[in-house]
Subunit: 388 residues, 4 copies
Amino acid sequence: MLREPARSIRLGMVGGGTDAFIGGVHRMAARLDGAYDLLAGALSSTAERSLASAEALGLSRGYGSYQAMLEGELDLPEGERIEAVSIVTPNHLHYPVARAALEAGMHVICDKPMTLTSKEADELVELAQARGLVLAVTYNYTGYPMVRQARAMVQAGELGAIRKVVVEYHQGWLATKAEAEGVKQATWRADPAKAGIAGAMGDIGSHAENLMSTVTGLEVEALSADTTRFVPGRALEDDASILVRFQGGARGVLLATQVAVGAENDLRIRVFGEKGSLTWHQEEPNRLVHHPLGEPMRIYTRGGPGLHVQAEDASRIPAGHPEGFLEAFANLYAEIASSIRAAQGEQVTPGDHPTGVEGARGMRFIEATVASAASDVKWTPLPVGASS
Amino acid sequence: MLREPARSIRLGMVGGGTDAFIGGVHRMAARLDGAYDLLAGALSSTAERSLASAEALGLSRGYGSYQAMLEGELDLPEGERIEAVSIVTPNHLHYPVARAALEAGMHVICDKPMTLTSKEADELVELAQARGLVLAVTYNYTGYPMVRQARAMVQAGELGAIRKVVVEYHQGWLATKAEAEGVKQATWRADPAKAGIAGAMGDIGSHAENLMSTVTGLEVEALSADTTRFVPGRALEDDASILVRFQGGARGVLLATQVAVGAENDLRIRVFGEKGSLTWHQEEPNRLVHHPLGEPMRIYTRGGPGLHVQAEDASRIPAGHPEGFLEAFANLYAEIASSIRAAQGEQVTPGDHPTGVEGARGMRFIEATVASAASDVKWTPLPVGASS
Amino acid sequence: MLREPARSIRLGMVGGGTDAFIGGVHRMAARLDGAYDLLAGALSSTAERSLASAEALGLSRGYGSYQAMLEGELDLPEGERIEAVSIVTPNHLHYPVARAALEAGMHVICDKPMTLTSKEADELVELAQARGLVLAVTYNYTGYPMVRQARAMVQAGELGAIRKVVVEYHQGWLATKAEAEGVKQATWRADPAKAGIAGAMGDIGSHAENLMSTVTGLEVEALSADTTRFVPGRALEDDASILVRFQGGARGVLLATQVAVGAENDLRIRVFGEKGSLTWHQEEPNRLVHHPLGEPMRIYTRGGPGLHVQAEDASRIPAGHPEGFLEAFANLYAEIASSIRAAQGEQVTPGDHPTGVEGARGMRFIEATVASAASDVKWTPLPVGASS
Amino acid sequence: MLREPARSIRLGMVGGGTDAFIGGVHRMAARLDGAYDLLAGALSSTAERSLASAEALGLSRGYGSYQAMLEGELDLPEGERIEAVSIVTPNHLHYPVARAALEAGMHVICDKPMTLTSKEADELVELAQARGLVLAVTYNYTGYPMVRQARAMVQAGELGAIRKVVVEYHQGWLATKAEAEGVKQATWRADPAKAGIAGAMGDIGSHAENLMSTVTGLEVEALSADTTRFVPGRALEDDASILVRFQGGARGVLLATQVAVGAENDLRIRVFGEKGSLTWHQEEPNRLVHHPLGEPMRIYTRGGPGLHVQAEDASRIPAGHPEGFLEAFANLYAEIASSIRAAQGEQVTPGDHPTGVEGARGMRFIEATVASAASDVKWTPLPVGASS
């Protein structure tokens, strides 16, 4: 069970104005356990809107830009200034903001995909390591208790050697040309200058990759991708189907699409090992289906009997009272708070959350997907990253 | 979509020490949207443990008792003292604490069942009305967006006249004698001095009754109850099955049990009308199943297409990203904040949440159940309450 | 696994003309395993339509009435005449046809409810016993393999002592006045002269009662019923809610309704014991959910691992290839064939299927329900039957 | 609703001895509607076991080999001899038996995969066409009513242009080396001499391909396959993952595995079009999930409201009474009976069932999969078949 901390971390936010979706999510996640005080923010791309958003949210210290925020905070006494920066901007700003924040000595909590390129990601990882700062990446789905149960079961050998992984993320909200209809999220995600080289793969395929890697612990050796732009005039792919070969011989399939009419956030993973299988579905996140070889199916429930401690620790309330997306997101924030405290020298165990290493790995997967999609050769190998 | 407020309400809490379950839930619910600042607390039944809990939670002002808290806060300037008190104690303290808080001019947020008797509940309703204070009761399940959708569909006539309602709340955590095994929740709930005249009916049957009444708008005319103590030596019923007759001719069935091995928080409601039916299940709260007469089944999803505004307004994040128990609970807190602001003279619409009127109605239902269970006469009528 | 027999039983049918639903079901059930040859029939209430139906179905020997069929068959050599009669008429004809068939020395397979009164049912039971003939009643839901698994688990003590049973059968096809719209099934079922004293209870409540009794082995001691006619002008109840007390202290709830808009054949049973619980749903019949105390939920599947032999024996094809209503019905027919062969002196074990004893017990339950619904006294005791 | 015919077709069977799984399935399917009389059989690979099986099943005319059966039947008067032959042998015998049966003037019902090569399949198609005989292939999953509903919805344009199809067939029964453990089905399926060039693809991937093609009507242009033998020492692939490009630009993914521990017959298809999506799952075959663009999800049920006539016609019993695998299989047999009668000159509409054309298309898909799996080039084109 998560515990409410006695002391909160002073947090600043870049991006996440009142009209953005993901900023509110980060704020709720930061607030839920009382582990952060959101004090400062540069919440929008113009100074005027940034200040208006800060006021509407009751922030103590609104700034017109992230540069102004970092400067302003550094002018404050160390016991007052923000300790960490949450970056919830469009993708192209992740790198410059994270770089500046780390250089200002602040811990960084960065949304995904981490950067525009794996090179940028590797640089940030090195920078954070050099400064002894936390660099966390909010692959939020790995915060779900039953994802942690799945990972713990794999690590404990309960499935035996993993043979096959099928991970898929189906959405339908881009089945029509939402970016031409004024849907803000769609607009920047469809713009390569802001989203990067990938569309569906950057937005949701990156989550699928991280879920697959986190649960199984497998390393991708090569992949073969087919990507498509189904909606006419769209600049980036809205559908991707990828065959995966892992080091050691396991196989995988990763599907990511945003044109599956009616699909909401249909993220699923199935893991098949020699001794058992697991199935998890983000839309019913409190359950984990386990097929032990030769025995009846079992369903583990969050808070229920038979769980590994990693799953128990990520849970707040009794079984049957559903926890959801925000609680999983808040788990990352709570774990990141532990890492920050540990980095600050407190005697606490650093938290369990994705870092820049996973972020850089994700960027390499995206780059390989784009390369493979343009290639007639079947298998595109994944480079081994500097940081992995 | 819920909006994050610029100003927070200053909140005190009675009960909810660090070893209690429901206190943490109320705190998370109060924090999620940033609508409250929890400043003061008398969190346990002894002064020592109260103060220790307050310190562990980082509360600004810990008190040794609720009386001390009310006195201490009244000594503060009006702009600093708490504006509302959240009562999360065992049942027997709801009435004295609520009475004292109302008399101190503070708004009250009270857990359920509201009191030990309907007489106590009626008194509190009158007192709150006389003082112009908010008296909210946290029947939290009615905070779920899809429960609001169900209620809105009934109100809009989409089901036609309601014929039958089946509501059930199955739990299994008291299938063994947990109260003798040191489970804190079980201990006081099994003690009539603290829990009141009912066991399962007070704890979960009251939720079922409120859900039934809220969704359908029907008034119970009479009931016929069979209650049982399955676990030997238990002082209060752990199982209840109730036939219900509503004013106007509709019929109902209410089941509440805490000995259903393996059941977690299996609260369900089915409403059958002349033109359609609805089914909702608390463990999959983001869906609402609708059977329109002569057409294929439809499933509404939280955040999805086709919802009434009451459901949309109770939602924070996009469809397919599950919201759960805490978000529903937080909806009540957010709505209660609106009521408090309205009572304070702000130009806002009072919120949509259960009040003492529903609390008193719930107490009458419990009293009728206990009376019926002891009677050989088939139907026990429900008195019309002073407050309903 | 069921085996195809080398020899078929010669079968006659009364009722079940080409425009009837249930006749076709019985014929498919009889044919599936090759255990019967349907040779003779008196399929409708007029001679002309009977003969036309027999011709349309390619029956060797069509008759104008059941009396003519019995006479005609008795005139044939013993090795050619039918050995058993399947009765699939409206309820009021079950008794006279069964009586005549038994008196003619033929085994009887009778649809449910068995008769119009428990007295008639008791008479048939005595008659069959006196003549050494099989008298089977097609409570078909007990033919499902996973119902047999449930019963076997209860019998093996895997749930411990049973505390509570909730059984419900929700249908929606009579939510409007179908009997006035020319729906043949509805017409006779709504007519007390043909259906008997009960509507929904006779049609589907009787199935629920049998399922409850079969799975748990408990005997009903008393019941308290509320029945309603929701559709104006309907002659018999279309909704029933019943509280049940079993001998030994277990409690039950039985719900049967035909006005649940959109419900198809939503028959469910939940059994809660001291050591575990079971849930089964007719619309997903190949699964049985088991909650062992203190362990994760398990789902048994038809044909899957961990089943009792009684479930395995009632299965034809591998797990995951759904068996359904007709296969369950055919299980009864296959089992009845074994009983007939055993009665004929073959060295085979009599089959596992409901008999007149269960049919008579069901009639007593219906009679008690009707009596209770008209009574102001809470509990109506069930008489102990001559045959049980 | 299916009607029971007045006249049955005289049927012979090759393969399907009493110890085989699929033979019993074909017999139940043939019996269910009374459309066939199984009179003759050469049921096993040795004369002795063939005759023993025929006797055990009560067949009128048992033969020691298929050659003997065809000769023996041709010696009978035309009105007595079998009219059709059902071939339920291991794969390698499909071609010689089908060829001989067609040459003997008999209609053929052949299990899948149709032959060992597409060349053999094309030959049989030509031969059947030349003789005016029915050549049916039992891709049985297309007999499910809700698969027909799906196909009808696509054909009616209710989904708009199809963009993406995901079809998958997961089984777990070969997760261990069952072929070395005496499991008869596994033994011949693991032997290339009897199974052909493919393992999982021949056994279940062929069903997935047929389901995909049948529902969508799309033609495969090229594919990219990764196949694996996970179980050491296995001669043929037990896992296949395939990317598909259809003519016209739609994309597909086909997964087939037999090492998914705990998976039973987990065949699923999802079809995403511009205006809507469909999901169907073989293990819950009576439901079809439909997401119309911008509207709540709808679930169609077999026998329920809103279905196309093709689905209604493939259904026997009311909604909510599950039909399953055998009923779907029997639908093919019933439809094939209509085709046979039409071919014999009766004034009936030929039935709706897969033929040799689909069988040959399936063989080309298998051949392309095997070629692709061995190739470093990404896309392997599918040849246009002589028969398609």
